[in-house]
Structures are given as structure tokens and as C-alpha cells.
Symmetry: C2
Amino acid sequence: MKSAFYAGFALTYLAAREKFGDSVLYYPQTTINDVFDSVEKGDTTYGVVPFENSTFGSVVTTLDRFISSKAQIFAEAYLKVNHYLLSNFKFESIKKVLTLHYLTLPKAFGQCQKWLDTHLKGVQRIDTFSTSKAAELSTVEPASAAISNSICADLYGLNILAKDIQDKKDNTTRFFILSTNSDRSTENDKTLLLFTVDHRKPGALCDSLRIFKDNNINLTKTDSRPSLQRPWHYVFFIELQGHKDDDVVKKSLEDLKEFCLDLKVLGSYQNQLQD
Amino acid sequence: MKSAFYAGFALTYLAAREKFGDSVLYYPQTTINDVFDSVEKGDTTYGVVPFENSTFGSVVTTLDRFISSKAQIFAEAYLKVNHYLLSNFKFESIKKVLTLHYLTLPKAFGQCQKWLDTHLKGVQRIDTFSTSKAAELSTVEPASAAISNSICADLYGLNILAKDIQDKKDNTTRFFILSTNSDRSTENDKTLLLFTVDHRKPGALCDSLRIFKDNNINLTKTDSRPSLQRPWHYVFFIELQGHKDDDVVKKSLEDLKEFCLDLKVLGSYQNQLQD
């Protein structure tokens, strides 16, 4: 039976289940890097990691790991994030709210700022490693509640005190399913690649983007991260419409090599985004 | 006397002091957003916020606030980050290490991973809001040490158990000094701007970058963040060489308006980076 490792966050597990259902065995890993390790070593068929959130942007741990990883993106998955207030205490007795520092500071607090300011004004707010960890800790911490999700309510036997407490109702997280290969080409694919440009060549990034424009290839996301080779030098990430085996994409990637260094295709996958 | 607000992290205070010395009064604020608030309301002459780290990339809270802020960048400052292990306990008795979740997970732990794995293997690691908070908490937490910096050793009366424990020795954080106006043009300036592109126009980002290339303007940084107007739609940040009052920059910004929406100049400031 095929197997999937996922980073030890309940949401990543949910995303993995949406993709694979009962067709694979699931193994939690502590960190995003552990998931990459497992896929690269061949300990598992798939790995599931968060990539970006519609409100909070890219998951930098995932971007950074792609720079050195041999794993390929096999598929993408989108999951709407609904935050719940979970606790085994009465609402009136709550003195502490626990939640995550998972994507960026003050993430979940920021996501639920209005609700907290209205319903739990002045209550102490405590950072945790993940929404799952928040739920787990709230089972032992007196007078506490966790901002977490429905799956954690089940996992840790917590009562749901309030549903959908996030400020933005269209808050979605996008996940990548990693493997050793990409999926085959369909009519509606996307491809993620990374590259650096020669910092002594002005306009190299512009020249790189122009190749896609000239070939009528749409870009769906760009991002950058420190290259770690030298300070203030960046690795660029570009996601484009098309599959790496499509002729026009292949040609573009050949042309791109002229303008950039360290070009790496991270994978092609069917577009799951309903526009 | 002029005054400067800074986000309540010791490093931001150090950066502010490097810039202003004894010429201003300093007021700590709890969060980056509080600093922006103070500057926008005119409660203070300057505000100091972290912008990016050479290892960990952009501070997304700062980028996101720029989208709606009226504050202008007045100057930039670079500060080398050296991590220290601070404690009032004996090294042998340390059971917990506290440090921050300030820029990204697992930041300071990641930055000091090798040292921790060698010298404090298996010791519990606890997340805190900042390196300053870690130092403060370690004064009351039994058998604990904080990963923090020299100024916090002084502030909280902690002993320095180890110096320069970070993995990367060229780890630098860049700060912005905010005000209501930019500084005047010198021979060596940079300008930060943000814009969105019409997602129905393919290649609009490419067209935008080409304007700078055609005008021989170097780009020193690009970044993007979710626009929050619609999911998977981004705001682009571009930093270029030159001052917004320079003729060639003025002309480029005029041309740029054709290809992008919501163009905003966040400020011009003297380049402090020694290349």
C-alpha cells in the first residue's frame, strides 16, 4: 500500500486525506523538513506540506527546503481554514487562549483578532507551535481554550465553544503533495521552478520573465527568498501555467537558461484552483 | 527633542540607537503595527521596524503594513545579529532553552541549530515572542537559559554563558526608520515601492520590470505578499537604486502607472549597504 508522510499539523493531515482518502497509510512527522527527508530517502510514496495561505502568504520553511531538495511536486491541494475555539472549560472561566505561530506572527491571533477583541477581550494570549499543539496543551492547562480546528476537537476530545471565528471568511491554505516524480500532463497544469540570476547582469529578472510573456505563458505566482550564498542575494520562485513536458514550456525553460543560474524545475501538477 | 518609537525588540532598539545615538528620546512599543500607528498619528518623529534578515528573509508584518500605511521610509540601517546564551544558572543545570519566534519558524533555533545540537542536545526548547522576552522569562524560569543578545544580558542582569552561537556568521537584519517624509536625495539612494498588476493582463509584471531595465535602473529587491483583495492575487514590492526625486526615477514611475494598479512609493533613503 502506498504511504504518505505529512507535517505534524492537523490541517496538513486533512489536506492529505482530501487527496488520498483511505487509499494510503498516513504517518505524522514533526516538521516540514522531516516530511521532505522522508520523501527524499524513499521512506514513503508521498509527503504533504503546506505551501501558502491566501491571507498570510508563503510558508518560508517549504520554500527554503525546495532550494536544496530533490523531491518533486506531484499535486496541489487547497483547504479552507476555519478556526474554532475549543475547550473543556466553560466559556466564562477562560483566562488563557492558546494558538499557533505557524506561518507568521501573529497569525491565528491576527486571523481572529476581531472575534477575540469582542468576545475574549483582555484574556491572556499564549503562542504555541501549531493549532494542533494548542488543542493538546489546552487539555491540561487550567482555564484555557485553544484556537484550533474541527479535527483537533475530535482528536483531543475538546468541546467546540465557537465556530468560524476567523476575520476573513475566504482564508485558504494551499498544500503540495511531494513525491519522487511529477504527475503526467493534463490540459490544465501548473509548474513551479526556482532560479537565481547573475547579480552583475542588470535586468536579468526582467529578461527571465519576458521569456514567458513572449511564449504566452501565464505566471500564477512569483516569490523570492534569501539565497544564503551571499547576503541580499535572492532565489526566485515562479509558478507558471503549463506542464514541464509541454513543448512551449520545454522551449521556454531552454531559453531561460541563458538568463539565469541554478534553474530547477520543482514539479508539474494539475491545477486545482477554481477561478 | 525628536523622538523615536521602536518595536519592543532589543535588536530594533539597538538599530535605532546606531542611527540616532543620544539625539532622540526612545519609546518602546509592543508590536511592529504599534510603531506604524505612532508614526502615522504623529505621536513621534520616527519609528524603527525590522524589514528583512539576510538568512530568514522578509518580515511579513512590516511588508503587510506598508500596503495600507501612510508612513514613509526615512532611512535604512543594518545590524549584525549575534546570538548569545544567557542565564543565571550554571551551564550544567540548564534543562530549558527559551528563544523567539520572531521572523519565522524555527528562526533562532534554526540559526543556532548546530550549536544547540552539540552543546545542549536534548534540552527542551521553548518558543517566546522575542529574544528580549526570552531573556526576561529566563530570569524567573527555573533551570532555563535564553538565546538572546548582549543588550538583553545588561537589561535583565543575565550572565553570558556563550557568545556568537549562531550557525551563520554573516547574519544581518535590515531595519527601516519610518517618518512622515523621506530624506532628501544623495548620490547613493534606494527607493521602495509597491504595486499590483491587472491579473487579466498577462505579462504585466514583466512589462513593469522592463521599464526599469530600459531606464538602466537596478533593482535591489523584489518581493510579493497576498493582496487580501482576492485570494491568490499579490502585491509586488520592488526596491530600486535611485531617489524618487531623481528625473529618471520620476519618469519610470510615470511609465509604470500604465502597467500597474495601486502604485505607491514607500520612500527613498540613502543606501547603507557596503557592497
